[in-house]
Symmetry: C3
């Protein structure tokens, strides 16, 4: 029974127990996530909710987008509900999207959903839901997770047709996500930190191909250059391939090039945060 994650991307809408995956930057200190769960449970009691995470950094649309994409290959959810929404109550649209692979996405139209729609085969149908018949009235100006997004996601899980949940919109007008992009110049890989996880591991906007193009070899030495400081490291498979307290370059679980510190935090050692540049050179 070989279970490749690539071949098993299924988004089956199980009518008996529909699955909603939920991600936000609401955090765990307030009742926001619990209230959205309650709203879903009332609109579609048989739905099951999997929380991808609610620990996305406040208003970090890129971070939320990447966490969503990291989960998608493993999700059989028929509805993905994602809320990182600094523009709530303002001019940004609220949308629900049906993708080629059968899954639906619900969230703000601020780029958060863009990469996920690509991973799901592209948008087939899109509606604007700010005035959806499913919304909870009066709609607050600051908590559309509760009043707009959760009710629409629950309605989709309950089998409602997308077209009945809002006004049609042209999918080509959806907001795109601008991500940094690594490049190789003169044998040097100029990458950027995309995310830093709780362990201090830094995921870069670069792939194995980029590393090879910069002349790096698996098992070989490399230099991590952060501003004026050069940190010697090695391009290896996993943490324990270097000594405790040493930096490593590796392919992370999402097949991104990444930097870690065995037994510590690479982000602290390199003073590197999401969005910042990190260059990598081959060394002896």
């Amino acid at each position: 029974v070989r279970r490749s994650r690539t071949t098993e991307r299924r988004f089956v809408s199980d009518a008996a127990v529909p699955l909603i995956a939920f991600l936000s930057d609401y955090g765990y200190g307030d009742e926001f996530v619990g209230v959205c769960h309650a709203v879903i449970a009332r609109r579609c009691p048989r739905a099951r909710v999997i929380d991808i995470t609610h620990g996305v950094r406040r208003h970090d649309v890129i971070g939320g987008s990447l966490a969503l994409c990291a989960a998608i290959p493993y999700m059989s959810a028929s509805v993905l509900l994602a809320v990182v929404d600094p523009g709530v109550g303002g001019a940004r649209r609220a949308v629900a999207l049906r993708c080629a692979q059968g899954a639906s996405l619900v969230g703000p139209d601020n780029g958060l959903l863009a990469a996920a729609t690509h991973a799901l085969g592209g948008v087939q149908e899109a509606v604007e839901i700010s005035r959806s018949a499913e919304r909870l009235q009066p709609v607050s100006a600051t908590f559309h997770g509760r009043d707009v997004f959760a009710p629409v996601a629950a309605a989709l899980a309950d089998g409602a047709a997308l077209r009945e949940l809002g006004e049609p919109l042209d999918a080509r007008t959806l907001v795109a996500l601008e991500l940094p992009r690594a490049l190789v110049l003169d044998g040097r890989l100029r990458a950027h930190a995309l995310t830093v996880d709780a362990f201090g591991n830094i995921a870069l906007d670069a792939t194995l191909e980029d590393a090879l193009a910069a002349g790096l070899t698996e098992g070989g030495g490399c230099m991590l250059v952060r501003g004026d400081v050069r940190h010697p490291s090695r391009f290896v498979r996993t943490f324990s391939d270097v000594a405790d307290g040493e930096l490593l370059l590796y392919l992370d679980a999402n097949e991104r090039l990444a930097v870690a510190l065995n037994g510590g935090s690479a982000a602290a050692r390199l003073a590197c945060s999401p969005g910042e540049e990190l260059a990598i050179e081959r060394s002896a």
Copy 2:
């Protein structure tokens, strides 16, 4: 299908899948929440638990009470389990309450449940559960969430009658919650911070009526006065109605007057914590 949150307060006790809403200050770093879930699953395997939040500040009875009340209008849970319990093991009573709207509340009798009982139409029946037949013995002195409250909540979800879960008590003797109360004096609104959420938004003990009584107008300017420092602001609808980095006064999603900083933390800017005073004046 108009779904007003006001008209749909239902607390249906679904016999097939009873719903328990759970709130505490146990945090996420320890096994306390998971152990309570396990206790519930063993006593009433078919119950479903929605976690409102477990991130209430340690021993913050007011904060827990407000989070509970913020969730209630959206909850169809038949049982609400709330544990913020600095007096655990001491003289405070442990109680289970049945409210007019059909929901039951379980928790310590320290004021935590008081506002929720009002929101649910008042207490119809109350029992003291410290020596409930449902408790897990030996009862520890410091973890009544596990040994007393979770088992009783699960028994209620399972259909047990309240009167069989403890000793009757007079609901008029239940501990009340003392909340600060804003007042308008000489055209100045003297309010207090009730809660600060993870975004740094400050909810005040004041309503739209208070703001109007102080002469504020929607869209108009105001001055936020914190100690000796005066912060210019505006009374608007949502974050993006002011420029990035500016303070706003608005009605939050629970219809409380609140202060936020677009793109930042108002609590940090104003150096304002729960319980502290914040005055608001009309300005040009």
Copy 3:
């Protein structure tokens, strides 16, 4: 209906809704926990997952082990999935174990599971699962929770036989956990901090018997000695047995000797972290 926690240790494998208990040090800021939930939901959609906690301190195998053991007496889960795995991708084995009381354990073979297996009556059958047919391929080097442990746990919940999930291994070769051990010398109890919870309460590697052996009496005075500093305290039942701001020695909810500060953090007051020594003497 007397429900002793001792007599009700049941690990019933409910075929309709199998229960998986899940603990890790993945934290809540990333998508790791949600992805594991998704993997489980896809392999065994009818399984229910109870999260014991994912807030174990990074790489704290002892802390994870103790949290797991604190939950076990209350769990009816048929599968326990535990991942605190600093050696992921390296030489450490990945294992699934069937215990005498019927429950199965899945996780890294680094000592994390050792105390739990004792609590569950010892290991009856053990397999190495790094190359399990259930694993998700390609297996990443750094996220075996997703690629190895969660799929195997889900397969067990689904009724798979342990022997079909990996290669047999000799349970006597499983890695043991080295815990500190309190001792009483010249009437002085030399204990160590095992864990510090979110309230700042310090659980020690000592029991009631140790306290009595050191001459302590319930209700009597004691001296907590941390380095050169002596902190007067009392051996009491619960927090409110001492004045606000005072230290207490007590038996915690897991029947360990513990130190707390009524209304504050004992760990902060005593500057005491897990693994560090704390001596206790009788006083007048």
